[in-house]
């Protein structure tokens, strides 16, 4: 924990529940999660290198919290997200969502992918209906719920379009609508706005915050953008690479401002931004 002196820095373990969330029930409980893999066998008689992707990560996330997992590539933030989403095996520790241990993908926790993951042969409405189609929900009901969510993301006019007729930002809106179809407790988002241009990205951040606040879903949001983490989250989990560790948990000073007005113009924005940047630069050597 070297040289973290600013007002926003906290020790990762000491205040895991977060300030504003202390009174809310736990939604995601991460306990001592580790993952490692072995490098290529070099054939010179030595054991292959053991690479620690995640080293003993623990944290709890309250119901309805917006958490960013921030860090440079290779720091294990995406690995942690994928473990929580049941898409990757891990070595030690446990994750419970809503009191139930994660042992694979589950229907109360949905994923938004960086490259949208839409099925290109399906229309927008059929893409949005996909999760409920898997659950055997009748077509009319899927449509009704799908149109509701397309309205929420502002794309109700594009229901019969195909993904490749839409811009990247619109495609990700469709993917967000799809992820909300099952009314999930938790949304996992893997750099969802990373593939978009700066302006589209800001628009989507703004709109997604509104959606989040109206649905009350718990969000785990992977990003390598300090700005994005600050503007969106209640708390920011700062990761450092090799080995992948949860170094610090930071309360975003903009949590109160983000929904009304421009959080980037707030005084605390620049200050926190610099502090987070120096924290990340230090680990990037």
């Amino acid at each position: 924990m070297a040289s973290l002196s600013g007002p926003i820095a906290q020790d990762a373990g000491a205040n895991a529940a977060g300030r504003g969330a202390a009174d809310r029930p736990t939604m995601v409980d991460i306990r001592g999660v580790s993952k490692h893999y072995y490098g290529r066998d070099t054939g010179d008689g030595r054991a292959p290198a053991r690479i620690v992707a995640l080293d003993n990560v623990s944290a709890t996330i309250a119901r309805g919290e917006f958490i960013s997992l921030l860090g440079p590539s290779g720091c294990g933030k995406t690995t942690l997200l994928r473990i929580a989403a049941g898409l990757t095996q891990w070595a030690e520790g446990s994750i419970a969502i809503d009191g139930r241990l994660v042992d694979g993908p589950r229907k109360d926790a949905c994923m938004v992918f960086q490259h949208f993951g839409l099925l290109p042969w399906r229309s927008v409405i059929a893409n949005v209906g996909f999760p409920l189609e898997l659950d055997g929900v009748p077509d009319a009901q899927r449509r009704e719920r799908g149109m509701e969510l397309l309205k929420l993301v502002g794309l109700e006019k594009y229901a019969s379009h195909f993904p490749h007729e839409l811009s990247g930002g619109m495609q990700q809106r469709v993917a967000i609508a799809r992820a909300l179809m099952r009314r999930p407790q938790v949304l996992f988002m893997d750099e969802p706005f990373g593939a978009l241009d700066a302006q589209t990205r800001e628009r989507l951040q703004e709109d997604f915050l509104k959606i989040w606040s109206s649905t009350g879903t718990t969000v785990l949001f992977v990003t390598h953008s300090i700005d994005e983490a600050l503007v969106l989250s209640d708390r920011i989990f700062v990761f450092t690479p090799s080995p992948g560790r949860l170094k610090t948990i930071v309360d975003s000073p903009l949590a109160a401002e983000r929904l009304n007005g421009d959080p980037r113009s707030h005084r605390a924005y620049g200050e926190s931004r610099n502090e987070l940047r120096s924290m990340l630069m230090e680990s990037a050597q």
Partner: protein, 278 residues
């Protein structure tokens, strides 16, 4: 005969654009140019056909007369039916069998290892070399024609289905996994639909193979169908009548390929859109 011209395929692939003034007038009228080209060719043929010994070349006017005569006598119609009947049965078997085998090979390593020596060997041997053997086993009639056709036409379907399913991106399968799809849901809702454009291409490519298969079979039996008619009139040196079944086969190839291409485009629209975006 089994594929449209390069020019028309390019025209199909690109949406119409407004023509700037610098573009030559004829780029906007491809069909006019095609018609003129065909007409010039037919005129030249007519001219040469009248000069050359009718044993070698018949002019279009005499071929037309022969076509009218063969149609009126019912001979052409009967030959067409005799060819189309095994053709349709063989195409159905090639499509269904090819898709099933392609899927089985792509989904199961065991099936792949069991079948791929045969598929590769069969694909490498010119299938025409097997025709006498097949006829020995399956006879000269419909069964023989169907077996020869299938031995020719099933491979493009198998191979395209196989590569279509193998080509499915892992990231798109993961979408199914992340949403808790079962194995069969992943197959029927993600893997198979994403392979459909490949499968349709395989079917289009196989139309030509199927026509070759059935005509070759009829050459060997030399009794029925359009292929039989060609051999029969060639032996009689009746050149005008000989051209009639050849032209009918050509038309059949073009019509069937166009038909499959329309269906193919309908099913592959999303892929086209995907590629146009780069």
């Amino acid at each position: 005969m089994n594929s449209p011209t390069l020019a028309s395929r390019q025209a199909a692939a690109q949406p119409a654009r407004p023509t700037p003034a610098s573009v030559k007038w004829w780029t906007a009228r491809p069909n006019l140019i095609r018609t003129i080209s065909l007409a010039a060719f037919l005129l030249l043929w007519e001219y040469l056909g009248r000069k050359i010994d009718p044993l070698f070349l018949a002019p279009p006017s005499r071929i037309f007369d022969a076509a009218v005569e063969l149609t009126a006598s019912g001979e052409l119609g009967a030959a067409l039916v005799a060819t189309l009947h095994p053709f349709l049965i063989g195409m159905a078997i090639s499509i269904v069998g090819g898709i099933v085998l392609g899927i089985a090979m792509a989904q199961s390593r065991l099936v792949e290892y069991i079948l791929d020596p045969f598929v590769n060997a069969f694909y490498a041997i010119p299938r025409i070399a097997l025709v006498p053997l097949i006829m020995l086993w399956a006879g000269l009639d419909t069964t023989g024609k169907v077996v020869i056709l299938v031995s020719n036409a099933i491979f493009p379907v198998i191979i395209n289905t196989y590569s279509g399913i193998r080509d499915v991106r892992g990231s798109i399968i993961e979408v199914g996994t992340a949403y808790g799809a079962t194995r069969s849901q992943i197959f029927f809702k993600i893997v198979l639909p994403s392979a459909v454009p490949f499968i349709m291409t395989g079917i289009r490519l196989t139309v030509g193979q199927a026509i070759i298969g059935v005509i070759v079979a009829e050459f060997f039996t030399a009794q029925t169908g359009l292929g039989g008619m060609i051999v029969y009139y060639a032996n009689l040196f009746a050149t005008a009548k000989l051209f009639v079944p050849i032209i009918v086969i050509g038309i059949m190839g073009v019509v069937l390929t166009e038909l499959v291409q329309v269906i193919e485009r309908r099913f592959s629209r999303w892929r086209q859109l995907e590629q146009n975006r780069g």
